[in-house]
Symmetry: C2
Subunit: 358 residues, 2 copies
Amino acid sequence: MTLPAPSDRAYVPFVSVATMMELIHAVGLETMLVELTDAIEAEFRRWPAFDKTPRVAAHSPDGVIELMPTSDGIHYAFKYVNGHPKNTREGLQTVTAFGLLADVDTGYPMLLSEMTMLTALRTAATSAMAARHLAPQGARVMAMIGNGAQAEFQCLAFRAVCGIDTVRLWDIDRAATDKAMRNLAGSGLTLVPCASAEAAVEGAQIITTCTADKQAATILTDNMVGAGVHLNAIGGDCPGKTELHRDILLRSDIFVEYPPQTRVEGEIQQLPADHPVIELWQVITGAAPGRRDAAAVTLFDSVGFAVEDFAALRYIRAKLQETGLYDRLDLLADPDDPRDLYGMLQRARAPGRPVSAA
Amino acid sequence: MTLPAPSDRAYVPFVSVATMMELIHAVGLETMLVELTDAIEAEFRRWPAFDKTPRVAAHSPDGVIELMPTSDGIHYAFKYVNGHPKNTREGLQTVTAFGLLADVDTGYPMLLSEMTMLTALRTAATSAMAARHLAPQGARVMAMIGNGAQAEFQCLAFRAVCGIDTVRLWDIDRAATDKAMRNLAGSGLTLVPCASAEAAVEGAQIITTCTADKQAATILTDNMVGAGVHLNAIGGDCPGKTELHRDILLRSDIFVEYPPQTRVEGEIQQLPADHPVIELWQVITGAAPGRRDAAAVTLFDSVGFAVEDFAALRYIRAKLQETGLYDRLDLLADPDDPRDLYGMLQRARAPGRPVSAA
């Protein structure tokens, strides 16, 4: 069948996984991590401009599927993301994602993008953004607890953004640590594989936890966290899923993205609903204090928020305009007369084919 | 750059607008409307099985962008849809949409599809489904008020599903009526263009209203609606946007899809929150009465609900398996080792390109 080609308005720029990887290499991974950190921080700086809502989650026994929308009144973005820790047993990923950027004025999509890769980058960039406001001055050593799909991106973002030079790695599965060591060889980081979480945190000024079990775990106990440490807790991001012992929370200054979501999903689901937390955007604008003193324990209770994906999608769209690295997807019907969708359908019928409606 | 081809797990079946039109013609539009009506009814019949939530709307001065998720615990679906009545002035469509079907067990997408065309079909099929349970016996004449993009699909669905043989058309813009008349010529329907809404409803046993202004309008006044009529009100589907005079509602038996959403968006936003309504699924299962008697005025206060899109996406996926009419979209990263997303990115680097992370 010969169809008239859809018009420009019918096409949505599309970034596949292969194209995203090509784009990351074209920009350079560390450069992209740094630029994404700045892009996300720029959006946090204008936090009140966003229409915010906790993500819309569909929970099942083995995982969760979430939609994460937000808008600044000019652009609208949402991400589809799943979290299924048991997937890795079947050779599937724990987290896959894609996202959309749209024009609020018309409702028309402007970009559809894979976000499995992009979420890995924006999560690392968000952690680094928080740490550059909260970590103790001169921090050089990070403990990386949980060495799965997110680990290398975290390590590289902390190197590029915060000046970390040494990473102490531990995972319950030594093969994961070995994988991260291989991948980070040549990154410029000093890599120290550790035999336990206790060993990994020794001498670390920053402790990043990023484990995947969908349950309340105690990756860190209270005695493992010394004064002056910054905790970057990524894995507790789902109701019933936490990583830190409650006692750690009670002596930490706790920083969060969006309290209504973190209260349900983050480490602080272990605390009363009125336990004081500080919104990260207020630290960035200077409206709230960050680290009080060198001895304070700061905790970024990270669950991932829609504004970070919004920032990442806007960043990618700008890069597409520079690089031309995208495909065009025939996602939108574009009839000559917008009221004549049926006429468009009729005209798409192959000549000589009987009128199906007759 | 030569990349290894993504594996089957990385690909998501994709139905573009062109492919959807090809699929509709391959099946036959009226056949598809009938099959969609049955598919949607089958899901309404097992209504309690669905995880339901009012759609998540981002309102702006000129329109709305909505996400409509639902799940039956086996499959998960959501639709992205906008509504921007002013778009037609710029040659754009009021409504565009796309949707996704996913596997709850893994969170992996199973189908990404255009839904501008598909929403037009499922909306018509849902209207026809309601009418075959609610319209007076032997109804043959429908008034079609509002002759925009949805009009022809409504007329054809009511012909195929309910046995309507005559349509009385009216639109505030005569050009829209002319367009619908041209499109429906040869459909087997007797078409009667009318000079006013009052003229259009004369002798009609079913009145369908489908106008697009984003405001409280009075397309039908109380004196225009006689005893025994079935009202199929589609256009009132947004806070502040209604089509019927309140007095009509007060003497109608009102049937809705999902009360928490319809209370906010439908015609019944004009009524107190405790005004009695009947859930359509209960009529279909026999748990609630439909039409009480020949003189009753029945009103389907239709706003569109996620379960209808779920049904439509499942129907399309089944058709893809029969016809092979789809593309494959590289939407999901699929590393050999699911914990090694970074390794996948590294291996995608062109040989000889410097290590960007170093």
